[in-house]
């Protein structure tokens, strides 16, 4: 039993204490930098539409017995964007998110903690600076009991600033040996994947083909770097809710942060064009149907909020559990959570 382990093993206990310290210093950082903490709902009517995520579905009952389908959020982004439209320029939410049907191992648990924040008047580049500032505080000796140079699972990680910034195109050039610009159409990427002898199955999208090469040749190399890495400018096919680059519409203003091989954060200069947003939502609804995922409607209230005017802004989500894993040198998520799903459901 996990509670017995916590009772008897001082190391296990210390990890949870450090987790609390890290959460506290994150909150303080945002308050000191003029952000407002908000709590948008975890239980919602319109679930997040990301085509590859499986949602937790539940049923909401009124006192007279009227029933509504309801979902747990996979990210608070819809609620936070409505608040941005309502005139809250700097907000953060710190809370639980839920994903169903994923592995219960390594860095995954179906219920996890996400930090998400938005800043009006900022772009994704400004967010990179903010992330570096945040880590200056939380990865400090006072909080994490480590020096500026950490060791994570035997790998040195140097948090000294500035961190490494690498475009997706540069990363492909360096590690996959090709110019990504030449493979941005389905046919060209298909030919490349075939030439490199990866498997190809009916129904593979451009993104799927991209990931077969990226996950085999590019990401493992990024994982070995001894510095945190901002990987930025994603192909527009993977824009999700990011704005397209004005000077190069083949790419979107999106970045991911990797530390010690773990994917820690995902960020965008946010899409504020309501028509483009509605179009992407409609595509996602169709894609979910095609993938055999449960059909859900898109959040029309969010489109309406965007239509009323969203300021230019940027937003980011950070996987807090993974961040705690790195700062406590923990290999598995169960070492830094009080009780995981496998503890609760498999014993």
């Amino acid at each position: 039993m996990r509670w017995q382990e916590l009772k008897n093993n001082p190391i296990a206990k210390e990890n949870l204490r450090l987790r609390g310290e890290i959460l506290k210093s994150i909150r303080e950082f945002f308050w000191q930098n003029g952000f407002l903490e908000v709590e948008t709902p975890l239980l919602v009517k319109d679930g997040n539409l990301e085509p590859n995520l499986e949602l937790f579905k539940t049923e909401l009952k009124e006192i007279d017995g009227t029933k509504h389908s309801a979902y747990l959020i996979t990210s608070p982004e819809y609620g936070l964007k409505k608040l941005l439209a309502a005139g809250f320029p700097k907000i953060f939410q710190f809370g639980k998110c839920f994903r169903n049907g994923e592995p219960w191992a390594g860095a995954h648990n179906p219920e996890f903690t996400m930090l998400e924040w938005y800043e009006a008047g900022e772009s994704y580049l400004g967010l990179m600076d903010r992330v570096e500032e945040l880590f200056k505080v939380i990865a400090s000796p006072e909080v994490a009991k480590q020096s500026r140079i950490f060791e994570y699972q035997g790998q040195k990680i140097d948090f000294s600033l500035p961190w490494f910034r690498l475009t997706m195109r540069e990363a492909w050039q360096k590690h996959a040996g090709v110019d990504l610009n030449d493979f941005l159409t389905y046919d060209t990427m298909f030919a490349l994947v075939k030439e490199k002898k990866y498997t190809i199955s009916a129904g593979d999208t451009w993104d799927d083909l991209f990931f077969k090469i990226f996950l085999s040749e590019v990401e493992p190399k990024i994982a070995t770097l001894s510095q945190p890495v901002f990987l930025y400018n994603y192909p527009v096919q993977m824009a999700a809710l990011a704005r397209v680059k004005k000077d190069d519409p083949r790419y979107a203003e999106r970045f991911e942060l990797y530390i010690g091989g773990l994917e820690i954060a995902n960020a965008y200069s946010e899409l504020i064009d309501w028509q483009e947003q509605e179009k992407r939502f409609q595509n996602d609804v169709l894609l979910r149907q095609k993938l055999g995922k449960e059909t859900i409607d898109y959040d029309r209230d969010l489109v309406a909020a965007l239509k009323s005017g969203l300021p230019e802004c940027a937003g980011i989500s950070i996987g807090v559990d993974r961040l705690v894993m790195i700062l406590t040198n923990s290999k598995k998520i169960e070492e830094i959570m009080p009780f995981t799903a496998s503890e609760l459901f498999k014993k």
Binding site: P10, I11, E14, N15, L18, E50, N52, E102, P103, A105, G106, H108, A144, K145, Q146, F150, E151, K197, Y198, T199, S201, D204, D207, D208, F211, K212, I213, F214, L215, S216, E217, E219, P220, M238, A240, E256, E263, N266, L327, T328, N329, S330, K331
Partner: protein, 186 residues
């Protein structure tokens, strides 16, 4: 054909006409992407290792293998010798096919040897194995990074592992051969 989700470290696959031993496999869910299985595959002819990522709904061709219970005898340079418990036949496996596993072999340990077309290619270790500590610093202050208070110790076959500070020379400990981590006192 089998689902790529079913492959594990000891699986043997036929891919593009070549035979590969799965050295490592891992589920990956990239941000905003579908689910994938990332593998490290060793070509058993050339010895070359490649990284190969499959979409999790894809199928792969697993080849029929023979599994024999054998006892580890000794190693002679690169070659590791085992004896079949029933037929007393002795076989050798090249150390390059035993990466991440050979460190856990000790004389007399029972393992499962995997043969393909009569040729031994790999073996499976018991999940937990007991070793005797032959060298360990006395209760020093240890490595406290991240609060994990451990020290280095050497076990009977020369492998170094991390153990809690209270473990002394001469004690027996149980090690998880999958992760190389200390589990408990034997």
């Amino acid at each position: 054909m089998a689902s790529v989700n079913e492959i594990s470290k000891e699986s043997i696959l036929r891919l593009n006409g070549e035979i590969y031993l799965v050295m490592d496999s891992q589920h990956v869910n990239p941000g905003k992407g579908a689910a994938f299985v990332r593998t490290k595959l060793k070509n058993i002819k050339s010895g070359k290792t490649i990284e190969m990522t499959f979409k999790s709904n894809e199928s792969v061709e697993m080849v029929e293998v023979e599994r024999r219970r054998m006892q580890y005898l000794y190693n002679n340079g690169q070659m590791y010798s085992f004896m079949d418990n029933e037929s007393y036949e002795q076989i050798e496996i090249n150390g390059s096919l035993l990466e991440g596993k050979k460190e856990f072999l000790k004389e007399g340990l029972e393992v499962m040897v995997i043969k393909f077309e009569g040729v031994p290619l790999s073996m499976t270790l018991p999940m937990k194995v007991t070793y005797k500590i032959v060298e360990a610093e006395p209760g020093v202050k240890g490595d406290t990074a991240g609060g994990n208070v451990t020290k280095e110790a050497t076990v009977e076959n020369g492998t170094k592992i991390r153990v809690p500070l209270f473990i002394k020379v001469g004690e027996e400990v149980i090690v998880n051969t999958e992760t190389g981590e200390y589990v408990e006192r034997a």
